[in-house]
């Protein structure tokens, strides 16, 4: 089965879970975005056909929400909160410096090994316990330079272990 056919089968499975109506569009895109770390052009075409929603509208939705991406991203998407209560914490800049140093990339970029993407996010709702960041769906609080390095190392080990298991 070619890649496109595999995606169509996957989308059909998601339709069975979420339904075929327009209200299923967000949940289906969310599942695809989570499974592949992004929503590919082939995925958008498959969703468009399965739900009978115009392609431009699927693309419109996929590019509106900041948690969706239409470009490939790393296994772990890191989103650092940049809103005021986090950004004014003394540990904020050291934590970001540690991210840059460990990953060797800037915001909006993905590491060459495909493990990490680094992004910024607006208020993650952790204002009382900042600085904070999300790693995929989990949230990390009271970031310091040291804790950032520990978190990244744990992700790296998990990613390598998963690769070995394959």
């Amino acid at each position: 089965m070619d890649a496109q056919q595999t995606l169509r089968t996957e989308v059909e499975q998601l339709v069975r879970v979420h339904g075929r109506g327009r209200t299923a569009l967000m949940p289906i895109l969310q599942d695809l975005n989570r499974a592949h770390s992004y929503i590919s052009e082939d995925a958008m075409l498959a969703v468009s056909d399965a739900l009978n929603v115009p392609r431009a509208e699927v693309y419109g939705v996929a590019t509106f929400y900041s948690y969706f991406s239409v470009k490939p991203r790393g296994t772990y998407v890191i989103r650092v909160c940049r809103t005021i209560s986090c950004a004014k914490q003394p540990d904020y800049h050291p934590a970001i410096a540690a991210l840059f140093d460990e990953l060797g990339i800037g915001f909006g970029e993905t590491t060459s090994d495909g493990i990490f993407s680094l992004e910024q996010t607006n208020c993650a709702g952790m204002c009382d316990q900042g600085p904070s960041m999300m790693v995929n769906e989990d949230v990390y609080i009271h970031l310091t330079e040291a804790s950032v390095r520990t978190i990244l190392n744990e992700c790296r080990h998990a990613a390598l272990a998963a690769k070995k298991a394959q």
Binding site: F64, T83, I84, K88, N122, C123, C127, D128, E137
Partner: protein, 397 residues
């Protein structure tokens, strides 16, 4: 991930801890729906999302609509910078929120509810699904709730995907319907034509958590907590330069000075009340009170200590709005971008009379001509900072 690990600090006893969700649902099950609406109306409960619309009135409108089915939605897209009370409520009291939704359903005649949870709180989803299962198991959700054959209600959780604008109720509805989060025109209001064009109530997490409390303890208990014009209490999210950031419950009419003293921030230089779309209060106004008639708020308090550069604060907020504008209308899409650029310039070069007139005009245009609350409110913080702290700009000292 266990939500309790990021629960944070709670500064005083919360009224929510005194009420069993089941008791609220039982009362609603035994009451006529119109009586439920009447009690919520009599309590004076207002929406806790920021707009402060009377909850009883919203439900009355929805109840009087003929279209079916009707829907009850909980807005858990808490995205206003500095606001995290819904996070705490969903961590500690999810069943109370679900009870509030079921009671809303009973009141307006809806049998299906949706909780729209922001993507940033995705780690709460398993915790909430488990709470939903407990409610179903105890017959607090489902068919014939607590034996009343006419009381059927269930809830689904739907996720956002990272868009502040979806906290605006009509943008939230668009998102639920599988579209971009573009705010709708009103009229019609969601209570007339909301989710899928059907009558829909959209209430904030905290509002819904208060609902079973009001039923169980009575509207007069609730009203006794606040002032005559603004009954009840509110959960405040306190962050920034203070010794004890966290969640605090205060009755309406509490002074800002009192709160600053409780959280350990007596030396504050300024306080942002109501999040990025709120206003920035200088020390001369710390005796003002938190209530709809004075300092209206969505419950967010961000403290700025003596060392803070207030125009860096304004730039951070402005960056937020330029980023989160949905792009649908020009005053908001272009205005927020231009204002962001202007703040950057004035931080570097100062602000002359012409420049000041221009930014004030721009702010006025955005406030008057933007389609929804995002653009209408986004210049507020900047204007308050300009009015009170312009001495911090280069050449103004």
């Amino acid at each position: 991930m266990d939500p309790k690990t990021v629960r944070g600090f709670v500064g005083n006893k919360l009224s929510f801890s005194e009420v069993a969700p089941k008791d609220g649902i039982r009362m609603a099950a035994e009451m006529a729906p119109e009586d439920v609406v009447a009690i919520i109306g009599a309590s004076g409960l207002r929406g806790r999302g920021g707009a402060g619309f009377p909850t009883g009135k919203k439900w009355e409108f929805a109840r009087s609509q003929e279209g079916t089915p009707k829907y009850t939605i909980c807005n858990a897209d808490e995205g206003e910078p500095g606001t995290f009370k819904d996070r705490l409520i969903l961590t500690d009291f999810p069943e109370l929120v679900f009870a509030g939704m079921a009671i809303a359903g009973r009141a307006v005649g809806a049998e299906f509810g949706i909780l729209y949870l922001r993507a940033e709180y995705g780690w709460l989803r398993d915790h909430l699904e488990a709470a939903l299962e407990r409610c179903r198991g105890a017959n607090l959700l489902g068919k014939a709730i607590l034996g009343n054959k006419e009381f059927n209600f269930d809830i689904a959780i739907r996720m956002g995907s990272g868009a502040y604008i979806c906290g605006e109720e009509t943008a939230l509805l668009e998102s639920l319907e599988g579209r971009r989060g573009d705010a709708r025109n009103r009229i019609p209001f969601p209570v007339q034509a909301g989710y899928l064009g059907k009558p829909t109530t959209v209430n904030n997490v905290e509002t819904l958590a208060w609902v079973p409390c009001v039923l169980v303890k009575g509207p007069s208990w609730f009203a006794a907590m606040g002032t005559r014009k603004a009954p009840g209490a509110w959960l405040f999210s306190v962050s920034g330069d203070c010794k004890r950031p966290g969640i605090y419950e205060y009755p309406f009419g509490t002074s800002l000075r009192q709160i600053l003293s409780d959280v350990g921030a007596e030396n504050a230089k300024a306080v942002q009340v109501g999040g990025a779309s709120g206003t920035c209060v200088p020390p001369a106004q710390f005796d003002r009170t938190l209530s709809p008639g004075d300092l209206a708020t969505g419950g967010s308090i961000i403290v700025f200590g003596p060392g803070q550069d207030m125009f860096a604060v304004a730039e951070n907020f402005q960056h937020f709005f330029a980023d989160e504008s949905c792009g649908q209308c020009i005053p908001c899409r272009v205005g927020n971008q231009r204002l962001l650029e202007a703040i950057g310039r004035m931080r570097k070069d100062g602000l002359d009379t012409d420049g000041e007139r221009n930014v004030r005009q721009l702010a006025q245009t955005m406030t008057v001509a933007s389609k929804c609350g995002l653009g209408q409110m986004s210049a507020r913080a900047f204007l308050a900072i300009l009015n009170n702290f312009s001495g911090e700009l280069p050449g103004r000292a």
